[in-house]
């Protein structure tokens, strides 16, 4: 049997044929490969044209990793928080790994208290000599980036937004650092506008945008319009979500009330402060503001 098949290769093809193939000139093989490549290019070009274009990075990421991109987005967002802490950050094995990210807290204007600092001391006391000696080679001081070094978090914010364009806090946090820490309101506005295109019903993004118009550009008319649009979007939410997001609503209403007061629209301001009284956990401050506005109104009426 062996002798019978000795002259044949796979599938009964005579082995001699392969020798003939080996004798083909390399130039011919190269030419054949070029032709094959060109044919493939022609075949694939129309399909590629249907794919996302450069610049639509979020879509590219979506095509590449599908729904898994949300996991990447969260990881990139965590990287931004790690950079904000210059590497002092709990791992999945440490306590406090699941606490709220400080870049979010900072973007809401929250200042860190001594108690917060203690909570974030996730390392605790040394457990043994290995842990004690190992701490020489870890960053063990809780610091935040400052002096324009905050820019180091931006690549991770950008990647997070590309990976999941529907993660609202990426836009609000990114815009906060771009404007308040790095003094780039134009970049912050562009980033928020991008976020708004991807999330047209986001009252959080509208709130952040309104603050930029009010505080960076001093454009109170646009700020008012944006705040009002934010309130409209919030009111369109289901009741359960409204209940959960009450603080965000309060922020919008209070900011709008102060804006109206600032621009001399006292009636409007009083209307918003009245609403704020029903939302705020401690409405006394709001009531004081209302009294002040009423005094201003009275003074304005008395004036000739």
């Amino acid at each position: 049997l062996g002798g019978h098949f000795s002259g044949f290769g796979l599938g009964g093809i005579p082995s001699q044929k392969f020798e003939h193939l080996m004798k083909v000139s390399p130039l011919v093989i190269l030419f054949a490969l070029v032709v094959l490549g060109f044919t493939l290019a022609l075949r694939l070009a129309p399909r590629l044209a249907e794919r996302p274009q450069p610049g639509q990075s979020s879509k590219v990421m979506g095509v590449m990793v599908g729904e898994g991109r949300k996991v990447f987005a969260n990881q990139f967002f965590s990287m931004a928080d790690i950079y904000f802490h210059s590497g002092y950050y709990p791992s999945v094995f440490d306590q406090g790994a699941e606490t709220q990210k400080e870049i979010i807290a900072a973007s809401h204007g929250k200042k860190e208290t001594e108690e917060d600092e203690k909570k974030e001391d996730f390392l605790g006391k040394t457990r043994d000599w290995v842990d004690a000696f190992g701490r020489h080679f870890k960053i063990t001081q809780h610091t935040h980036l400052e002096g324009n070094k905050e820019r180091e978090i931006l690549p991770w914010i950008r990647l997070s937004a590309d990976a999941n364009p529907h993660k609202i806090e990426t836009y609000t946090v990114g815009a906060f650092f771009l404007w308040e820490h790095l003094g780039q309101p134009d970049q912050a506005e562009q980033f928020l506008r991008e976020g708004l295109r991807n999330n047209p019903n986001s009252y959080e993004i509208l709130f952040a945008l309104g603050r930029i118009y009010r505080d960076a550009y001093h454009d109170v008319i646009r700020a008012r319009n944006v705040f009002e649009l934010g309130i409209t979007k919030f009111r369109a939410l289901p009741a359960a979500v409204q209940k959960e997001e009450r603080i965000a609503y309060e922020e919008l209403v209070v900011n709008l009330a102060f804006l109206e007061e600032q621009t001399g629209h006292y009636d409007e301001a009083l209307k918003w402060f009245e609403l704020a009284c029903t939302l705020a956990p401690f409405p006394d401050q709001m009531r004081k503001e209302m009294e002040l506005i009423r005094e201003k109104q009275a003074a304005a009426r008395k004036a000739p």
């Binding site: 950079y83 210059s86 590497g87 791992s91 094995f93 440490d94 457990r127 043994d128 290995v130 842990d131 000696f133 190992g134 020489h136 080679f137 870890k138 960053i139 001081q141 610091t143 324009n148 820019r151 180091e152 931006l154 690549p155 991770w156 950008r158 771009l178 790095l182 780039q184 970049q187 980033f191």
Partner: protein, 259 residues
């Protein structure tokens, strides 16, 4: 001693004759440069992520170079049967082990030097800062971590059947220690017995390679570690190298080279 250095010299020559290092260096450099070309919010002063990516690539490349170079040393000598004339020189088995270790370690050190110089130049050009003492400290610790890895791989290559299995097992062990090493005690505490005891014993008995990773200090520019802890870590590495080399020598001494 001359015989040991002669053996080491052969290993170093082998590294620069092979393409592994060049491929890894070019790939790392290319990826770093591409990542550096990216622009985020039109801000050209962002440098942290480039450091991060570059350091990660350096660590991966150095680990691959160290493990693959070491894993094939003794099996290749046995397979080509060049080990017999080598041992007939006469070179003792201990000298062979030490020579191979020294060669792999120095060769990896040369590769590491090229990587860190590239890193320092690239980051310095972008950041206009030159924290050379910190870079030296990071490279030194990295090199000594690789010394432990090389000695461990050499020991593994005596016992495992092929360089591929030695490489796979050793890379898995090293990555496992780097990721979990510092947290093994915490993990142990939430495990039922006997796993708790096994993990706790493992935690105290394993070489703590994670100490040698100063990437965070380099990336975040958070000062340096200090000479005292670095020297102690160097001593710790030397002890582990000695342990693995003795284990390798004991295994190699009993090894039948004809099979």
């Amino acid at each position: 001693m001359n015989k040991t250095f002669a053996l080491a010299g052969v290993v170093i020559k082998e590294l620069y004759r092979r393409k592994d290092f060049y491929v890894l260096f070019v790939l790392s450099a290319l990826l770093t440069l591409v990542s550096g070309a990216a622009s985020f919010f039109h801000d050209r002063n962002i440098v942290g992520y480039i450091k991060d990516i570059s350091m990660m690539l350096i660590w991966i490349s150095a680990l691959i170079i160290a493990v693959t170079t070491t894993a094939r040393q003794i099996p290749a000598e046995r397979e080509a049967r060049t080990i017999f004339p080598l041992l007939a020189k006469p070179v003792s088995r201990w000298q062979l082990i030490v020579g191979k270790f020294l060669g792999c370690w120095l060769a990896t050190g040369l590769a590491l030097l090229v990587f860190y110089v590239f890193f320092a130049v690239l980051i310095g050009a972008r950041e206009h800062q030159w924290p050379l003492a910190l870079y030296f400290e990071a490279a030194w610790m990295h090199w000594f971590m690789l010394a432990i890895v090389i000695a461990m791989v050499l020991w593994g290559s005596i016992h495992f059947a092929a360089p591929s299995s030695t490489t796979t097992i050793c890379v898995a062990v090293v990555v496992g220690i780097l990721v979990l090493g510092g947290h093994l005690r915490q993990l142990a505490l939430v495990q039922p017995e006997p796993m708790q005891t096994v993990l706790t014993v493992g935690y105290f008995l394993m070489p703590h390679l994670e100490w040698y990773n100063l990437q965070d200090f380099v990336v975040f520019g958070s000062g340096s570690v200090g000479v005292g802890p670095v020297l102690l870590a160097t001593l710790y590495a030397a002890v582990w190298v000695a342990i693995f080399l003795v284990l390798a020598w004991v295994g190699f001494r009993r090894k039948n080279l004809n099979t």
